[in-house]
Amino acid sequence: MDQQQLSLSYGGNEYTEDYFYNSPADYYDLYDDAIDGQNQDEQSFWSHLSFYQLCTQCVLPAIWSTCNLLGTTLILCIFFRLFVVVGNKIRSIPKAVFHIVCTICGVLPIILFYEDGDLFQLLLQIVIFPMFCYTLSIICLLTLKQYTSIIFSTVILLTLLYRECFSDDTKWRKTKSCHMLMSLKAMAVLFDLRSNELHKFPPVYQYTGYMLCAGTIYLGPFLTFQEYKNALFTPVYWNTSKVFNVIRKIIISLFCFVMSICLLDWLLNKHMYIDENRNTITNIFLLMYKQALEFRTGHYFISYMSTVFAMVCGYNTEILVTLPMAIEWPQSLLNVVIYWNVPMHHWLKKYIFEEVLKYGKKNKHTNKILAVGATYLVSSLLHGLEVRLSAVLLSLALYTYVEHRLRTKLASKFLKTYSYYSKNYHNSKKYISTNNCTWFIWIINLIFTILNIIHLAYLGSVMDVSVVNSVRSYYDSFEPWRRVSYFSHFIILFMYLISIIL
């Protein structure tokens, strides 16, 4: 039947007539059209979809695919908490069991959702590292009389650096955060021991439990040993508002995740018409802003999730990891630095900045600069001296310094009643609205905020959340900065010059 239809459709056409072109010109017109049409670029994958399609094809699958890992972690956290509650009721359970359960709950999600095949090596990495830290701490404590913690920290940081430089890139990136967090904890234990916050070095099971504790092993946040121990043996009171708080945080976290994965791409491509190759200022800025925002929302996702896990496990019920609004509407870069990751900030401040200040003797100013430098160095080393991250951190340190200097000078010069910030009793810097809050102050603050938004977009544009298989060259890493000819750094230089003049 099909065959017959064929002969019906094409019947009688015996190719008798030769091809006849009206004129060659016609043909070349077509050719030119085709060449013109080739300038079209492949747009982003999600940009053609309607909102409904985006939901079904990006949002839901994305959430679903992460829920496997995060959901399991959450369930294990709940299980751990229940075990602690029940275990404390039954007094006969030895304390070591708590720590062991905590370790198992922590390691299990990583093992279950480890996709790269070689499970043995992963286990080795995750179990060996705390053991390594433990033995190293013991050796340091026994052999060295002073500078124990400093030498220990140096060795740990160099290990991280070594891993960053010489290990398999994809596998390392997967376990990097675990190692970073464990390093933070191991260093904190020794520092606390020295400052007598911790009276004796914890035994192996406690140490491992602390290093690999449920919920915080791969997403953070950093906990002190004391917080960890408290969680095991002090009751936490739950009420509805707390449960709602957890649920709210989960929703915020997932929303940030979806923003980072596809929503931003979709929004900016579809409604702002941004395009990789167009060289207009707004376009370039939006592109940079998008890139940076994808990175930032990704970070909020991680931070909120870690908050949720920490809350459920009961380590610290009112923990604050990040404050998106302080970063998205940056009234000052100082806020950004602090609220990017609060526990990490506290760690750096307590164990590096203040420690270095203690060692300094005479000149207070150079001492402070030294302390800032050391903090920067340690924080870069913690990230394994990764090129882009280090560049961003260094820039951020400079920017913050210049901004702080300029604003304090402005405040002291022109407005006696206006102060740039005030220290309140929490010892955190906070903005005050001055008594006579004039439009002038308001505008100056606004200008600084807008400048900061631009700076952050610029700095964040080199951070790429998408995985590139080939190794990026040094030259490629800073392509987004080179494209805009490093304008933000020049703005800072200019601001610095002004602050000198003032």
């Binding site: 064929l6 091809y19 016609d26 085709a34 094809q57 018409y273 995985v467």
Partner: protein, 423 residues
């Protein structure tokens, strides 16, 4: 009446090999399997309403281009017609881009005079023909897969049950589990299957010519499928990759065009010979293709098991598999063409002079590049007939600026340019 004759012919071809040869010879020269390419142009200017896939309207002229089965497929998959049209146009543009500097430059004929979009060249078995088949097949696969991901085709659902899939993703390392993504990662699956059914409808004979088409069509699709890339985003503390989300992404069509052009340059000349030359191998499914290609490259060690597998296949499907054949290279020293290679049957002509019998335009009046020594250089392009140069004033859009929001304003610049054209 006519139908019974045709059916009888088919039965005979299946039974008697000799008759099949005669039949193949008879069909040669009036090969008509590919009129569907016409939808790319038939829709113009507004027979295909672009923004309403569900309401796709086709006039009768474009319907006559299709076979029954193709029409049925379009009816059953609303929205797919637009994708096919887009795919063919994309393939056409890509072909013209790849061949812009060659004597044959993928010219299309004025479609409204009927017949085939690319002209009579598709009736022959040149390298160029092979490329046309491969690129159009790739274009349809690409466009349908993309339309699928965009949710334009109603019947293409995203099967969330199949999340981990190994053999489809050929870029990933062996032994490594793939990342989970519940989205439309498998749209390529639909695109591949659809293109196979749609594009290969015509090629049901047993002549070598049709085998060549089948092979080249398959090669085009394989190129799309194997170029599928995973794209991932990482989340974790400070740039680590604790939570990784991946999805599959279709390759840029330009890279497919580039790859196919490479295969064009290294295409295998296969034998015009007896049907015994069509040695059978098993090619069960696209999932097996990579394996198959390796097997072919490794030589014939795996032949026996493959044949066994094929026997089983016979019993299961109760029919012969169209895709189970192996073309033989003209030079027996060379290895057999792989799944992604292009094959051709006859040496290409020079394409210098117009040849209406073959549908070749010739290079008269073509622009050439005086300084180049490549194919686009005047010596080669004009076949040593000589060329003339003249000054022309070319106007182009320039100084384009983006105005907030959202339009692009350009001015027109004119400049003098020396243009060489072949005599």
């Amino acid at each position: 009446m006519k139908a019974t004759i045709v059916i009888r012919t088919i039965i005979l071809t299946l039974v008697v090999d000799e008759i099949s040869k005669v039949y193949a010879k008879h069909r040669e020269g009036k090969y008509k399997g590919t009129h569907w390419w016409g939808i790319a142009k038939a829709g113009e200017p507004n027979n295909l309403v672009p923004m309403s896939p569900g309401m796709m309207h086709m006039d009768s002229t474009s319907m006559t281009l299709l076979r029954n089965k193709q029409r049925r497929m379009i009816r059953e998959n609303p929205g797919v017609l637009q994708a096919i049209s887009r795919g063919v146009n994309m393939a056409l543009q890509e072909c013209q881009h790849q061949f812009r500097n060659r004597r044959w430059n993928c010219s299309t004929k004025n479609f409204m005079t009927g017949e085939n979009l690319f002209g009579k060249i598709v009736d022959r078995g040149f390298r160029e023909t092979a490329f046309i088949y491969a690129i159009t097949s790739a274009g349809v696969t690409h466009a349908v897969s993309r339309a699928c991901a965009e949710g334009v085709i109603e019947t293409c659902t995203c099967d969330t049950a199949h999340q981990r899939r190994g053999p489809y993703i050929q870029n990933s390392e062996p032994g490594v589990k793939d990342w989970e993504w519940g989205g439309c990662s498998d749209n390529i699956d639909f695109g591949y299957k659809f293109a196979r059914m749609f594009v290969d409808t015509g090629e049901r004979g047993r002549s070598l010519r049709e085998k060549m088409n089948l092979h080249n069509n398959e090669a085009g699709r394989m190129h799309v499928q194997s170029e599928m890339k995973q794209e991932c985003k990482c989340h974790g503390m400070s740039g680590s990759c604790t939570v990784k989300t991946c999805w599959m992404k279709l390759p840029n069509f330009r890279s497919i065009g580039d790859n196919l052009k490479d295969r064009f340059d290294g295409a295998s000349w296969v034998m015009v010979g007896n049907a015994g030359g069509l040695r059978r191998t098993r090619r069960k499914d696209n999932a097996q293709n990579k394996h198959n290609e390796n097997a072919q490259q490794n030589g014939m060690q795996q032949q026996p098991s493959a044949q066994q597998g094929q026997q089983q296949e016979h019993h299961r499907r109760g029919g012969r598999n169209r895709y189970s054949f192996q073309l033989k290279p003209y030079d027996p020293e060379l290895k057999a063409p792989g799944t992604k290679d292009l094959v051709y049957l006859e040496q290409s002509p020079q394409f210098c002079d117009a040849n209406p019998r073959l549908g070749i335009l010739g290079t008269h009046g073509r622009q050439c590049n005086e300084s180049s020594i490549g194919m686009d250089g005047c010596d080669l392009m004009c076949c040593q007939r000589g060329y003339k140069t003249h000054q022309a004033i070319v106007s182009e859009r320039c100084n384009c600026t983006f105005l907030w929001c959202c339009e692009v304003k350009c001015s027109v610049c004119s400049y003098r340019k020396t243009v060489s054209t072949c005599v």
